[in-house]
Symmetry: C2
Subunit: 495 residues, 2 copies
């Protein structure tokens, strides 16, 4: 079968498109959604079959989805052969987990090996996620899974010395402390090689925000050069692919969203250990619309993180923060970048909450370093910010990543005003995020919304609650229409 | 967005293809594999998004997979709108099940309503299957799930009188008793409206075998006409769609293959009750390569089936049969049909085991009818077969379904011979099935294999073990190549 490119993005799932009347479908008894093993020179790939009944491919052609195309990187005109894949070796382990057994390290290793080789289907991975939900994956298993995820990925070695990192579990709109923390820590001479994600369901990921200020799609050698020169970086993890097993698990876990401390621990720590980190601070926002919803749940998760970290000799602290409302003014890549730059530049209108959080996190991370006295971290962080050294370091990192640029401003903006006077009793983070997405974020980097209002603030009827930013009139109207009914701010009339 | 047909078969999964640069992807923040809700006139459908990066669709077009196209049946040039779907109402119930809770009837109803409306993703359905595996779905839950599956489907009403049925759990190659049992039962004046499945992973389903002798893709009114005229039918269940929830669950369960008596009970009984059956005989082959692997497992499943059946006032008996080896001579649609016709025609070379099983099953089903004396069923079945009345009834049913035809014969055949002399110690049903599929079954109905050898038979070196039948030289070679290494017959040298 002649290989062509389908030009269809099915995210990470490899899909092949064959004609219903092709020889191979007939002889192998392949039907739609069969899993097939493709051989292309020395490379093999297991993919899901979609059967073409129209004219997208000829009977002697096979078209590959982007994930399959990128995995195999075929030469023009190359031929592929197909067969039924052998059952994955880890199917027994999967079955055991589904039936309630505890798995050992070799079983988790088999599962992760098959996951990265795409020998396990998405249905099987979903079954694994469900079977590991809640308390069904204990501390020892989380450690075993972490080890397995590490074994099937890469592991960075930075040589001598400390490697610091910070990580936030569960997003809060506008909580864009990472660029500031990295700038502070690197300005103080520590190594902090930070990889971040793009938005999947949120209006901006740290990588999206950083990208409006500098290139982020660096590969591993480029990332290493930046860190060797400047001590820190803020790059998109997608091109670095330190933990391919985690990338796959996240693809399945995110839409299912079954809480599991065990899976979260393995996901976070496998990436940190793979990045060569020695000291990690976890930012854990706690609030009713945040990922961690109560102090009890937070304490439990912190214990689990600490337990597995210490099994790998990784120093880990947890910083529990307010997860009830957004941080900073902007929500959306460019608007958040503006907040970051204002803090770094010590602008008069820099959002105080974003600065405070960044200083607290940088301070806590500094105090994890052996020899640094307790209670000195925040003041050192403030000093570095005030002196402009953090800004200088941030700009140097941007230059090393490919060049600093100012964030763009949106072409259209409109205010949404309060319908009644009163006190803001609650803020729905998810509705704010949705408005920013409807306005075009993160696809249009300048889109999103801006608000400085917080719980407890008193507003007057007709006063702006937030401003919507968009790059087209249509998207602006779209966001405003939803905003009119969604009421992300709950305003209590004051008696 | 203008709706066009993609001409891509993704089995039952609705998929929509939109261009990466389309307005809707940008404004809604849709990315590959997002689930989107499509509005088309008064109809809505939830589908998975595949993002086109090539030229398959224009930026103002959306292409629909076959499942989406068939579900919406769009008029030419019609426009569709899209938005994010609301979370399914049953997500709470799914979550509860995953976290180990017992669900009640209203929760199962919510799950099945969302499943048939495709508000639950395949990942969520897989999680549900995993969470219900093994003993995680008790008797009461199986009954509640059965009731929920019935509530979201159709239910046939045949008016007064008995409605008999037989069902086989777990396939055995060549175990094609259904056409014979239906012919016997209908010839004796009983009503037996039988729906059967096509092969998914096997070389032939009962519907495939029946189709080489008569049309089977009847819709519900046509099926009803056949049964009203002849008392029985053997049609493909896919066009009748009595239990859409079961069709969906089977699509997920089959590739995962986690045994669960609870799910199996709900699947089988929801279809039988929906078909209006009053008396059902379950054929349960037990053997190491069959679905039910031990007598203990068989007894347990029989108890569960009986318990739920009686909650619905359905009479149910289980007939446990030998599941160690194939039945009849042929494996593949036409070859199995030839066996069926030989039994019905009382040919001298009719496979004795297929006749015996059919008679035993028909006899057991007859003895379930109130007033029929125990021990008389098999002799009545034999009588009807011997007298030619079963054959006449079968031909009449075929005529009513659209006309009888003789099964085709394959163009190419080749024998596979014994490499050593000895006694057949075991037969691997799965390898035999694979050879038949490589030869082209069920896509080429005449393809498959034929063998009369059974466990205990003694063969001489060079003697044929089985004959491969194919419609092309390539497929024949392909099947023979695999057969040479697979050794489906374990021959023990006799000392």
């Amino acid at each position: 079968m002649r290989v062509i490119r389908a030009g269809i993005d099915t995210y990470q799932q490899p899909v092949v498109y064959m004609h219903r009347d092709c020889e191979i479908c007939r002889s192998e008894g392949f039907v739609a959604m069969t899993r097939v093993q493709m051989q292309l020179g020395h490379r093999t790939l297991i993919a899901t079959l979609n059967v073409v009944v129209g004219d997208m491919v000829a009977v002697d052609e096979v078209a590959l989805s982007e994930a399959a195309w990128n995995a195999l990187a075929p030469e023009p005109g190359v031929l592929a052969s197909f067969r039924h894949p052998e059952p994955a070796a880890s199917v027994g382990a999967l079955r055991a987990k589904v039936f309630g057994e505890r798995l050992d390290e070799s079983q988790y290793l088999a599962l992760m090996q098959d996951a990265v080789a795409s020998r396990l289907s998405d249905l099987e991975l979903a079954a694994f996620v469900a079977a590991s939900a809640g308390e069904r994956m204990d501390q020892g298993e989380a450690t075993a899974l972490t080890r397995a995820m590490l074994a099937v990925g890469q592991r960075l070695d930075w040589g001598e010395g400390l490697v610091l990192d910070k990580h936030c579990v569960g997003g809060l709109p506008g909580n864009r402390t990472t660029p500031i923390v990295v700038a502070i820590i690197a300005a103080l001479g520590y190594r902090i090689p930070k990889t971040s994600s793009r938005a999947i369901t949120s209006p901006a990921g740290t990588a999206d925000t950083m990208e409006v200020m500098a290139p982020v799609a660096l590969d591993l050698p480029a990332m290493r050069r930046v860190v060797e020169r400047e001590g820190g970086c803020i790059v998109w993890g997608g091109n670095v692919r330190l933990s391919p097993a985690d990338d796959i698990m996240i693809r399945i876990q995110r839409p299912l969203d079954f809480d599991s401390d065990g899976q979260l621990v393995a996901s976070v720590l496998s990436k940190k250990i793979a990045a060569g980190s020695t000291h990690v601070l976890i930012d854990m926002p706690v609030g009713p619309t945040a990922k961690v919803r109560s102090e009890v749940a937070g304490a439990h998760l912190a214990t689990r993180l600490g337990g597995t970290a210490s099994a790998f000799g990784l120093e880990l602290d947890v910083y529990r923060s307010d997860g009830r409302q957004p941080v900073g003014v902007g929500i959306g890549p460019a608007l958040e970048a503006l907040d970051v730059l204002k803090v770094l530049r010590n602008d008069a209108d820099a959002p105080a909450d974003l600065r405070e959080r960044s200083v607290a996190l940088a301070g806590a991370l500094l105090e994890m370093v052996p020899g640094n006295a307790a209670g000195t971290g925040a003041s050192r962080a403030n000093e570095v910010l005030d002196s402009g050294r953090a800004l200088a370091k941030f700009l140097a990192i941007c230059e090393a990543q490919g060049g600093f640029r100012e964030p763009p401003h949106a072409e259209f903006t409109a205010d949404v005003t309060a319908g009644v006077s009163g006190r803001i009793a609650a803020i729905d983070n998810r509705r704010l995020a949705r408005i920013a997405k409807l306005a075009g974020a993160p696809g249009s980097p300048a889109a999103g919304l801006a608000t400085a209002l917080r719980i407890g603030h008193v507003v007057q009827r007709g006063q702006p609650l937030f401003a919507v930013h968009a790059q087209s009139r249509g998207e602006l109207a779209y966001a405003l229409e939803y905003a009119a009914t969604a009421a992300p701010f709950a305003v209590e009339e004051v008696a």
